[in-house]
């Protein structure tokens, strides 16, 4: 008897101890990290409380009516069917509530729509399925890819806190600076959303939208693409790192330095194995989404590279596809996205891997050829 009680008590204790419903922390919008995001949060809460009050009033009135006027013996229902005064009253009441909401909404809207130039202007381009960031004044830029491993996505490795919200290279911005984002897209419509900045702007091919932010404290802010952009729409997160202006200038200096180094690399003499090694990495990062791990693609939308005529025997066309993309298909141009070395390496890799070298001509491509392609085009 005692044992049973003791057992059930300890079970209950264990259950309560283990019961942690993490989601209670994530019920509401985040107030965010900027003045604008906090104002939008305040507006959201105002509207929310007004709606909550209306909702509770209506539901309580309804509950009262349902209980009070349920059918009872000998009670006859009333037969009124109109009251102009009453109807005018509540119509006016609704209108007043809406005006009360419209006033703060308009003022916040005007603040959000300030599209003066920033101290720093960053061009953001959405690609299937990655973001490209270019610092307009400093003429440096890079691509930002999801860095969560396939093993985690396929439940083969444990997931951690930033699952699907982590990238190989975050966007770095300085604190206490007005940063303006110019947002566009290269293929389909994407949408760049960082909740902590309260910026959500669609990235539309052929259009340049703007958003701006002014972050006071350093921090890391995460967001996601919010417009359906194809099969990996859920896998193109945004990570923004706000750092002190000093740290930011170091970051830009390093970027410029790396750009010069990169240019020098095209002059170097490359071996097939060196190119293969780089190429495999590039392939895993940029190509597997469509052409798949074994290179077999998902025909007919994403063609197989294994045994492909172009990959085996037509080097010129192979380079052209990488540089120009394929009109009317999902294949984009990688001329901007990858360096000469990287393009040469990934072409070499696909021409060598999966038995393509044995069945095809097995020709490799060196960075100089890509540079020449670019030069000839000019």
């Amino acid at each position: 008897m005692f044992r049973a009680i003791k057992y059930s008590l300890s079970l209950a204790a264990a259950l309560t101890a283990n019961f942690s419903f993490a989601a209670w922390d994530d019920l509401n919008m985040s107030p965010g990290a900027t003045q604008l995001s906090q104002e939008i949060f305040g507006l959201h809460m105002t509207v929310f409380y007004v709606c909550l009050a209306i909702g509770i009033a209506v539901l309580l009135a309804m509950a009262f009516i349902l209980f009070k006027y349920r059918k009872k013996e000998g009670v006859k229902p009333a037969d009124f069917d109109d009251s102009t005064a009453l109807e005018i009253t509540w119509t006016v009441l609704f209108a007043l509530i809406l005006i009360v909401l419209a006033v703060p909404a308009t003022s916040v809207m005007i603040k959000a729509y300030d599209d003066q130039e920033g101290d720093i202007n960053i061009l953001i381009t959405g690609h299937q399925w990655k973001w490209q960031y270019e610092y307009i004044e400093d003429e440096v830029g890079f691509f930002s890819n999801l860095s969560t491993s396939l093993d985690k996505r396929n439940n083969l490795a444990p997931k951690d806190e930033n699952y699907l919200l982590e990238v190989d290279e975050p966007l770095v911005i300085p604190t206490n600076t007005r940063v303006r984002f110019l947002i566009t897209a290269n293929d389909v419509i994407h949408s760049w959303w960082v909740p902590d900045f309260a910026i959500k702007q669609d990235a539309i091919p052929g259009f340049v939208n703007t958003g701006w932010t002014y972050v006071n404290e350093p921090g890391v802010f995460r967001g996601q693409c919010t417009e359906l952009c194809g099969q990996y729409h859920g896998y193109m997160p945004i990570v923004v790192k706000a750092v002190s202006p000093e740290e930011y200038s170091t970051f830009i200096r390093d970027k410029k330095e790396a750009k010069i180094q990169q240019a020098l690399l095209t002059e170097k003499l490359w071996s097939t194995s060196e190119l293969m090694e780089i190429g495999e990495g590039i392939y895993q990062k940029n190509c597997v989404a469509c052409h798949q791990i074994g290179g077999r693609g998902i025909p007919p939308v994403f063609p197989s590279l294994v045994g492909s005529e172009i990959v085996m025997r037509n080097k010129a066309r192979h380079i052209e596809i990488l540089m120009e993309g394929v009109q009317g298909a999902a294949m984009a141009s990688y001329a901007e996205q990858l360096s000469e070395v990287e393009i040469a390496a990934v072409i070499t890799y696909t021409r060598q891997a999966w038995g393509n070298a044995e069945t095809g001509d097995g020709k490799i491509v060196i960075p100089k050829e890509i540079l020449d392609y670019k030069t000839n085009k000019l």
Binding site: L43, I65, R70, F94, L101
Partner: protein, 535 residues
């Protein structure tokens, strides 16, 4: 008792033909209404199965049962089927059954058109569903099919999708022409426009909305077709086209479309509430004006779906204000329903339970709609699960509950038999609990930042998503119970009276004819006096 005498006796009340040809060639509004309703019930289970796949995939973080590509096909076709294959045909089914009976007409004005408008629907959905078995897979660009994802980057089956949408549109336009013609020409003597039952009014206005916007949708998909196959650049930025133009055109169709899916529900719920309150509807004329103003406003609010496309601020403010205005007529309707119940004599049979849940939960959907109307706040809500929660609240416990309510309300009149009231109540409570379990937590994950249409999500959304999935599975199972209840009613129900519901007395012509209603309802028009005098 011989068949010869029977057929002679029923000279102009002859029964239906037998076998499949009865359904294929029928011009009878009741047969066609039933076919619409069965069709939408079948589509409900197909579209529902897709929702189950979606929720199974989202049960836990990480890849679960389908690939991201197939997930997108599920999301797209779930939306298309629920909108065009379930809610809209079901309302047309009710229109077919009830409008002639409510206005005292023998049938619809254009019976052959009626037959055609139904029979092209299975063709349209056959085409759409067949794309699942084609190379490249089914449409995968969302039910809103934004260009250029749906043009330059679409699977080759998009052409079948376009053709299918064209046929659906043709069906809706034919149905609407029929409904308007019937209402304008075939009302019983003395039934002036402002004496029409509210369901008839709501469909009268809805039919005009359909005629106005379906051609716009047809235009949008035709431009897509041209972009894909004829080398034009309507939506192709590279050729000087404009991807945002697509969204303007789509939502100019799309926003009236969402009211097409809710206005007939307003009519249905008004009838049910007045019947089970044993009182006349409160504010009849303001109900009519409210529906009309919602319909008119629906043409000037479309860009509130596009607050993040980068419109000029004047556009943002205009669409914010016009959208907020919709709250006024909608609020009037909710208050009118409450006032109808006020001082009534309420009973809570299954149709009334669903109607009450409609008012309560539609109010929640309406209030989250006001929040979404606030443009700067919408920067945070847009394309998150908050939006998913909002439109499911107005479409599931909104439109779908009104359809279930209507089915319980009128099925005794159609079959002459009562459904099982206990099972009906079980169905209601299961649906009510699970629908909230499914859609309420979506508000939370949306505000916390979960984008919509993603096949996998960050860890912080895990707990609520599991709850949503459990709710969705329960809701799915509950609807199988509905199918059972309907079949049990048809094959094994107790006989229903002419009036069916105690409170239905004098509430409309449909309650003056036998249960089941004769194959041809009114061979001579009933008189409005017959409704009044008996009270």
């Amino acid at each position: 008792m011989s068949a010869v005498i029977d057929s002679h006796h029923d000279d102009h009340h002859h029964g239906p033909a037998k076998g499949f040809s009865r359904w294929l060639y029928t011009t009878n509004h009741k047969d066609i209404g039933s076919m619409y309703l069965w069709f939408s019930l079948v589509m409900l289970f197909i579209g529902g199965a897709m929702a189950m796949v979606i929720r199974a995939e989202l049960f836990e973080p990480g890849s679960q049962i389908v690939s991201p590509e197939f997930y997108n096909q599920m999301v797209t076709n779930h939306g298309l089927i629920m909108v065009f294959g379930v809610i809209m045909p079901a309302f047309v089914g009710f229109a077919n059954w009830m409008i002639p009976m409510q206005i005292g007409a023998p049938d619809m004005a254009l019976p052959r058109l009626n037959n055609l408008s139904f029979w092209i629907l299975p063709v349209a959905f056959g085409i759409l569903l067949s794309t699942f078995f084609m190379e490249g897979g089914a449409p995968n660009f969302g039910w809103t099919f934004y260009a250029p994802l749906s043009t330059e980057y679409a699977p080759p089956t998009v052409t079948f999708f376009i053709f299918s949408v064209h046929i659906m549109g043709a069906s809706s336009i034919m149905g609407s022409i029929n409904i308007i013609t019937t209402i304008l020409n075939m009302r019983a003597p003395g039934m002036t426009l402002m004496k029409m039952p509210l369901f008839v009014w709501s469909w009268f206005i809805t039919a005009y909305l359909l005629i106005a916007v379906m051609p716009v949708l047809a235009g949008a998909v035709t431009m897509m077709l041209m972009d894909i196959h004829a080398g034009t650049s309507f939506f192709k930025a590279g050729g000087g086209g404009d991807p945002v133009l697509f969204q303007h055109i789509f939502w100019f169709f799309g926003h009236p479309e969402v009211y097409i899916m809710i206005l007939p529900a307003f009519g249905i719920v008004s009838h049910i509430i007045e019947t089970f309150s044993r009182k006349p509807i409160f504010g009849y004329s303001s109900m009519v004006y409210a529906i009309a103003s919602i319909a008119l406003l629906s043409f000037v609010v479309w860009a509130h779906h596009m607050f993040t496309v980068g419109m000029p601020i004047a556009g943002e403010l205009f669409f914010m204000y016009s959208t907020m205005l919709i709250a006024i007529p909608t609020g009037v309707k909710v208050f009118n329903w409450l006032s109808t119940m006020f001082k009534g004599s309420l009973t809570f049979e299954t149709p009334m339970l669903f109607a009450i849940a409609f008012v309560a939960l539609f109010t929640i959907g309406g209030l989250s709609g006001i929040m979404l109307a606030i443009a700067p706040a919408d920067f945070q809500y847009h394309d998150t699960y908050f939006v998913v929660a909002h439109f499911h609240y107005v479409l599931v416990p909104g439109a779908l509950f009104s359809l279930l309510a209507a089915a319980y309300y009128w099925i005794p009149k159609w079959t002459g038999k009562m459904y099982d009231e206990t099972l009906g109540k079980v169905h209601f409570w299961m649906s009510f609990i699970s629908v909230n379990l499914t859609f309420f937590p979506m508000h939370f994950v949306g505000l916390a930042g979960m984008p919509r249409r993603i096949p996998d999500y960050a860890m912080q959304f895990a707990d609520w998503n599991m709850m949503v999935s459990v709710g969705a599975f329960l809701f799915g199972i509950s609807q199988l119970l509905f199918l059972f209840i309907v079949l049990k009613c048809i094959y094994n129900g107790k006989a229903a009276t002419t009036e069916v519901w105690e409170g239905a007395k004098d509430k409309g012509f449909e309650w003056t004819v036998d249960s089941p209603a004769p194959y041809h309802t009114f061979s001579s028009p009933p008189s409005m006096e017959s409704l009044k005098s008996s009270s």
